[in-house]
Symmetry: C2
C-alpha cells in the first residue's frame, strides 16, 4: 500500500545542450525518448514514482517554457502539480519552493527529490530503495541521499565518501556521509574506486519536511526566509506573482553546495540499480542495443558500410547512408545535423554556442 | 555571324546515380547547378552552343521523364526542339533519331553532338574549337571528334590515339585517329600520358548530315534502316507513335562502339579548354573553390571543426556541424543523407542500389 505521506519532486528544468541537436532548448533531454523505449525520460521517471507515491503527490518543477510539453507528456498531472520557475536558480530555490508548496498541503510529507532525466535499469530495486529511504527519512532527522556503487572511475560524476563502519542499524545500506567531492580527475577517480568507500552522487534526496526546512533555515537562511514569506499564498491565485517577485532576487545555488556539503545529519543509501545520469553520448551508447558492427542506430532507413561503434540517431523516415566511420556520432533533428567524434563530444557545447551566435536561437 | 546550317544535339538522358543523393532519378546531374554558379549544367551547355548555332537549331535529346524540367530550365526551346526518347538505347539510336529529325528540316545541316553535363572552363577556346570543327566537318567527309590533351593519367576516361605526323593541312590541331581505347588501368594510363599521342575522349562529335548518315548506313545498318523508315513522319503528329514503335525493337549501342571505333574517316581535334566530364565527386572537388581548410562547402549554415579536404553539400538553410573528418563526402538532398569517404565514392552506385531495394524508388 502506498503511503499517503509520500511526496515526490521531479526536477525538470534542464535546457538540453548536451544531446544537441537531438535535444534542444524547445525539447530538452527529459522530454525525449532517448532510449527508444516508447516513453520519454520524464514519463519513465513519473511512472517509477507513481509506484511509490500517490499520483497527486508527484510534483514537477520546471520552467514556464516547458509547461505545455509537461502537460502533454504527463496528462495525469493537475495544473497545481506543475511548479513553474520563472527563472533558473539551480536546485536549492527549486527545492525550497516545492517544500513550502507541499507543506501547505501536508505538513507531514516525506519527500523524495529526483532529476527527471536519469536512467534506472533495475526499477524494482530502485523502488525498494526509495521506499526504504522514505521510511527511514520519516523516522529520522536526516538528509538522506543516494550513492551508487561505482563500476568504473567515471570522471563525470561527483562522489560521496561514506563511513563504512557505521551503517544504520535498521538498514545496513545506509551510512553517515564523510564528504562530498566534485567531479575528480581520472587518477583521483581511480583511487576512489579502489578505496571502496566512495559512491557516485545520484542527485536523489529524501527527507521529511521538518528536517529539510530546518536545514534550509540553518544553511541557506536568506533563501528560506524568501519562500517562508509566502506561507498562506501557496496553492492560491496569488502564488505566481509572489514567486515571480522573490525569484528575481533569490540567489542561484545548488542544494549540494548550499546544504548537503555543510549539514551534519547527511546519510547516504548505498545502492546499485542500473543508474546513469545519461550525461554523455558515450553513456547513451553504452546503454543502447548495438548491432553486429557495434553501432547504435535510431532511424528506420539507415544503412551503414565499414562503420563501427557509431551512434546514428536520425528521424525515422530519413534515408541515411554512412560509410567509413568509426566511433562517431551522427545526429539529425529539426533540420540540424551534427557529425563528430564520440571522443570529442565535450566540445558539443561549444558547437551549440557557435551555432547560436552565427545562425540564431532557433537552432539551439 | 552564326552559320544558319550549324545544328547542335545535346544529349541529356543521364539518370543521375553518380552524384546521388545530390542528383537522383528525378533531377539528374545535368539539371543541377553542381558548381554553384547560378546556372545548371544543361543551361550552361545550351548557353555555350547558343553562341555557335541559331537557338532554334539546338536540340535536346532526353527521356519523357525529363520533358518538363527541360522546358523549365530552357524556356527558349520550342517543343519540337526537345527530342523525347521513349526508352534508353545508349547514344547511337539517340543520334540517329536526331539526325533524321534535323534532316527533315535542313539537309545541309552540319551537326555538333555533345553531352549536357560536362564542364568547360575556357568557354572562348571551346567556342573557337567547335566553330573550326564544324567548318572542317562541312568541308570534309569526316566523323570528327574532340580529344582533350590529358593533364593526368586519369583512369576514368576513354583515350583516343592520334597520328601526330599527319595533321590536317587547314588546321594543324586536327589529326587522323589511330585507335579508341576503353578506360585504362593506371599503368596503361601513365604510358598513354608519356607517349604524348593519346587524348581524352570528350564524347563530342561533329559531322555533316551526309557523312554521319553514310556511317550509320555502313556500320549500324539495322539502326539506320529503322529511323530511315520514318522519313516523312519527323516533325509531324505521327512522329511520336512511330518513334515509340521503333525504339521498342531498336538495339542499345553507343556511337563510339557502333561507329567511331570502326569507321576509317575519323578525325580528332586535339584541344584543351578546361574540360571535365564531372564524373566523380573527386573531379567536382578539384573544380570548386576551397576554403582555408581545403573543404568545398555548399550550404549557408555549415560549420566545420578539425575537418579538411571534405565536400559538404547540403540544403542552404540546413544547420550542419562537422567535426573530425578528412577526405569525406557529406551530402544531403531531399531527405537523403550520404556520408562516405571520398576515396570510396565508386561504391556509391552500390549504396543507391541497396537503398532502392530496401527503401524504395522514391529515394533514388
Amino acid at each position: 500500500m502506498i503511503n499517503p505521506n509520500n511526496y515526490c519532486v521531479i526536477m525538470a528544468g534542464g535546457i538540453g545542450a548536451r544531446f544537441w541537436p537531438m535535444s534542444n532548448s524547445k525539447t530538452p533531454k527529459q522530454f525525449l525518448d532517448i532510449l527508444g523505449e516508447g516513453r520519454t525520460l520524464i514519463q519513465k521517471t513519473f511512472d517509477r514514482f507513481a509506484k511509490i507515491c500517490p499520483k497527486e503527490n508527484i510534483y514537477i518543477v520546471t520552467s514556464k517554457n516547458y509547461k505545455n510539453i509537461t502537460k502533454e507528456q504527463l496528462p495525469d498531472l493537475q495544473d497545481d502539480q506543475i511548479i513553474l520557475e520563472p527563472y533558473r536558480r539551480n536546485t536549492a530555490p527549486c527545492i525550497a519552493y516545492a517544500n513550502y508548496k507541499i507543506k501547505s498541503k501536508n505538513p507531514n510529507a516525506v519527500v523524495v527529490v529526483a532529476p527527471s532525466d536519469h536512467v534506472i535499469l533495475k526499477e524494482d530495486v530502485f523502488i525498494s530503495v526509495i521506499e526504504q529511504g522514505l521510511q527511514a527519512a520519516s523516522e529520522n532527522d536526516w538528509l538522506l541521499t543516494i550513492g551508487i556503487r561505482p563500476s568504473s572511475p567515471n570522471t563525470g560524476y561527483g562522489y560521496i565518501q561514506y563511513n563504512e563502519d557505521k551503517p544504520y542499524a535498521k538498514n545496513n545500506s545506509i551510512y553517515a556521509v564523510k564528504t562530498f567531492t566534485e567531479k575528480p580527475e581520472l587518477e583521483m577517480a581511480k583511487s576512489f574506486l579502489e578505496s571502496g568507500d566512495f559512491l557516485w552522487n545520484a542527485g536523489i534526496f529524501m527527507w521529511s519536511l521538518p528536517s529539510v526546512l530546518k536545514a534550509f533555515n540553518a544553511y541557506l537562511p536568506e533563501v528560506d526566509s524568501l519562500f517562508k514569506q509566502g506561507e498562506g499564498l501557496y496553492n492560491t491565485p496569488q502564488e505566481a506573482d509572489f514567486i515571480d517577485k522573490i525569484y528575481q532576487i533569490c540567489k542561484s545555488i545548488s542544494v549540494d553546495y548550499g546544504i548537503m556539503e555543510k549539514a551534519q545529519n547527511v546519510q547516504v543509501f548505498a545502492a546499485e540499480f542500473g543508474w546513469s545520469d545519461l550525461g554523455t553520448w558515450g553513456s547513451l551508447y553504452e546503454l543502447r542495443k548495438k548491432d553486429a558492427n557495434k553501432n547504435v542506430i535510431a532511424g528506420n532507413h539507415v544503412k551503414t558500410y565499414d562503420t563501427t561503434k557509431c551512434i546514428v540517431n536520425v528521424p525515422k523516415n530519413k534515408v541515411v547512408v554512412v560509410q567509413g566511420l568509426e566511433d562517431y556520432i551522427v545526429v539529425e533533428n529539426n533540420d540540424v545535423l551534427l557529425i563528430c567524434k564520440k571522443s570529442d563530444e565535450q566540445q558539443i557545447r561549444q558547437y551549440v554556442a557557435d551555432v547560436q551566435v552565427d545562425f540564431g536561437n532557433k537552432y539551439v
